[in-house]
């Protein structure tokens, strides 16, 4: 039913598909504008596994005046207790306001809450959602539900945490593998031999495992992963893990993990006089981490530029509901890059090039759970 997607473009609203061509100022303008535009990567979804060639493009949403229906959209997300998801929430709200859809957001309360998220998904369909945006706590476990919902004619948009099932209308994804690759690539280019400890967060997370695998594949033999220490996402838990890792692996010179981990690592490293020896890199960005990057307390962090994904997801849902073609394709992802602070050395210090708009929640934004 969905018409063929609009062609891939190199330029729109003064924004180029090649991020390098965009000035920070222009990008800022573009992503905050009401008719926003953002450089994306369109993934060819015709190939099996929906993981084909990746072409840069510029994503522009459906203009508000072309939206006829008053749509009910509902989004289920893993949780709303860290800046990353608060940022996505901000995107949801902004886009819902722009498109005038009625939006309801459900948070499962953590990555272990599989049954709860399944229930929430059912609940919001029962509550009459025309489209659901799913950011799954488990890439596999939600497949049957999603397939059923899709068959019942509900639009399903896969957000951030890619679902295994092909039965989705559209995808706006945080590309775990690419993020892992980029981190690996950066460490490789950075040169010096790396002995790293992974503190990815909770265990049993397929996507994190994938990220770490892709990291290792890319990084090659010069980068040695000493161990993976799993633990609750809470800062206190990560803190204890870092402290133990410091004592367990004196040869360690890199701590890889979540933004919480990187934040938690600062004080124990300083205390053990290892701030210079042990560097940190995280696979996503938070305001606190950003500050520490600038201050040279943290070394690097991957910037997925994906705070816009939630806006794209809603736009995709609306396009699908309105029977309008997708912009560029049904699978959109972002161009990630690794942001490093002074601690990484002048050669790699690119902290100022990071787009706050695309990586951090708006200052002082407070979570909103429904927009009517």
């Amino acid at each position: 039913e969905q018409p063929a997607p609009t062609p891939i473009v190199d330029e729109a609203n003064g924004i180029f598909s090649d991020p390098a061509k965009n000035s920070a100022e222009a990008l800022k303008q573009a992503v905050t504008a009401d008719d926003w535009a953002v450089p994306v990567v369109v993934v060819d979804c015709e190939t099996p596994g929906c993981d084909g060639s990746r072409t840069p493009s510029v994503y522009t949403p459906l203009p508000a005046n072309e939206i006829k229906g008053k749509w009910n959209v509902c989004a289920v997300i893993p949780h709303l207790k860290d800046p990353y998801w608060v940022g996505q929430d901000a995107g949801f709200v902004a886009e819902a306001k722009r498109t005038g859809v009625s939006l309801q957001i459900y948070e499962a309360g953590g990555y272990t809450e599989i049954s709860k998220q399944i229930n929430q998904l059912n609940n919001c369909v029962a509550a009459g959602a025309d489209a659901v945006i799913v950011s799954a706590v488990s890439s596999e476990a939600l497949s049957p539900i999603v397939e059923r919902i899709k068959n019942d004619g509900t639009v399903v948009i896969d957000l951030v945490n890619s679902l295994a099932t092909p039965a989705v209308t559209g995808r706006a994804l945080f590309d775990h593998c690419t993020i892992g690759k980029f981190l690996g690539k950066y460490l490789k280019e950075a040169g010096e031999p790396v002995k790293a400890v992974w503190l990815p967060g909770p265990s049993g997370q397929a996507l994190l495992e994938k990220l770490m695998t892709c990291f290792s594949d890319e990084a090659g033999e010069k980068i040695e992963v000493l161990t993976k220490l799993y633990g609750d996402t809470g800062k206190d838990a990560q803190l204890a893990l870092v402290e133990n890792a410091i004592n367990a692996y004196p040869e360690m010179n890199y701590i890889l993990g979540s933004a919480v981990t990187a934040e938690a690592a600062v004080s124990p490293l300083a205390q053990n006089g290892l701030s210079d020896k042990v560097k940190t890199a995280s696979y996503y960005m938070t305001p606190g981490l950003y500050e520490q990057l600038r201050a040279g307390k943290a070394t690097c962090a991957s910037a997925g530029n994906e705070m816009i994904l939630s806006r794209i997801a809603i736009d995709m849902a609306v396009r699908a509901l309105e029977g309008k073609p997708f912009n560029g394709g049904k699978y959109v992802s972002m161009t990630a890059n690794v942001i490093c602070g002074p601690a990484a050395g002048e050669k790699f210090n690119n902290v100022d090039t990071m787009s706050k708009e695309l990586n951090l929640p708006p200052e002082g934004f407070r979570p909103v759970f429904s927009v009517n």
Partner: protein, 360 residues
């Protein structure tokens, strides 16, 4: 449930008045006493449930839509079975804090077997998978049971340790990634399938409830379970085989948890090591709200069912009427405490009833 309608009220020193009879006399005539009797037998919960349903239904008519009723039915089935399983432990004055881990490990076990045999005939593959799930939970049940019944160590610690160990094993064998590649028939029939509009899990739940009711109220072992939970010393000196009773209840409780692992695996068509983390606490809450004493020896299956229903309805309803999730936590906490406080009230009234029949 015979024994409930057969409750009696007695004069301080004299002939009892039989509820059943007084019921038939008064039911029409005097509603307040009728309600008081319901209150005494089932506590605040039925009222609370009615209140919830009305509130939600008024604010959001879709709450009572066929779709949502089906949806709630399916949701309550999984939790409900776990709650019954927890009840089998609690009745004997033991906790099961490992039912979540049991669900997870049997989900993994079942999924691994099915994935391994997926190539061949789906029927056999599914059968083997089910056996695996039940086998795993049976094993856990036996270990719990032996430690609780024979070695006589605190079930709190035993099942807590078991939980940690079981999850560890689940993660170890899967390397932390979900197990997929199960035969599609499995989730089609055991997960989504519905008979005359009744979802398969709901049917299983119904059977489990029936079985549990019969086990606890119509068999020797059930009676003994209540006795052991009420006063182990006295039960032993009344010739109850305490060990066998405890073993039985622990094993059946854990196997029920394994059954949920099976059903959830079908629902997710994946083996997950993270599933069921919230079950231990949720099931205990449901039991307590359902009037099943943590101190053992008391409780009705109907109470367990209502307790599960309460939790599911609450979150489903709050989702439907769009209560933001932070506030949901707060409300949940408040309602828990409220429910328990009112339950205290109930026991008071009950004593008065027994004491002062003229009220009835």
């Amino acid at each position: 449930m015979t024994e409930h309608t057969a409750k009696v009220v007695a004069l301080p020193h004299g002939q009892p008045i039989h509820h059943a009879t007084s019921h038939s006399q008064q039911a029409g005539s005097d509603f307040s006493t009728f309600f008081r009797r319901q209150f005494i037998n089932y506590g605040i919960l039925p009222l609370l449930l009615v209140a919830l349903i009305l509130t939600f239904a008024i604010i959001e008519p879709r709450f009572l839509s066929y779709a949502n009723v089906m949806n709630v039915t399916r949701q309550v089935s999984y939790l409900g079975i776990i709650v019954v399983a927890q009840m089998l432990y609690l009745v004997t004055a033991n906790y099961d804090l490992s039912n979540g881990a049991t669900v997870a490990l049997s989900s993994i076990g079942c999924a691994l077997v099915m994935a391994a045999t997926a190539g061949g005939d789906p029927a056999t593959s599914i059968a083997l998978g089910c056996l695996a799930a039940l086998g795993v939970s049976l094993f856990i049940g036996i270990v719990n049971g032996v430690l609780i019944a024979v070695v006589k160590v605190s079930s709190f610690m035993v099942t807590l340790g078991m939980a940690s160990a079981a999850v560890g094993v689940a993660l170890l064998v899967t390397g932390g990634v979900p197990v997929y590649g199960l035969p599609p028939e499995f989730s089609r029939y055991f997960g989504e399938y519905a008979v005359f509009g009744v979802p398969f899990p709901a049917i299983v739940f119904g059977i489990v409830v029936g079985a549990a009711y019969v086990l606890l109220n119509w068999t020797k072992i059930g009676r003994h379970a209540f006795a052991v939970g009420g006063n182990e010393r006295a039960a032993f000196q009344s010739g109850v085989n305490v060990r066998r009773t405890l073993l039985c209840m622990c094993i059946s409780g854990s196997v029920l948890a394994g059954l949920v692992g099976l059903l959830l695996t079908a629902r997710m068509s994946t083996g997950e090591a993270n599933v069921g983390v919230e079950f231990p606490m949720q099931s205990i809450i449901a039991c307590v709200i359902g009037g099943i004493a943590l101190s053992g020896g008391e409780g009705r299956v109907s109470g367990a069912v209502m307790g599960a229903l309460f939790i599911v309805l609450l979150s489903n309803g709050m989702d439907l009427i769009r209560v933001q999730s932070y506030v949901q936590d707060i409300l949940l906490g408040g309602l828990l405490v409220l429910a328990i406080i009112v339950d205290k009230l109930r026991t008071r009234v009950r004593l008065r009833q027994v004491a002062a029949p003229q009220a009835a």
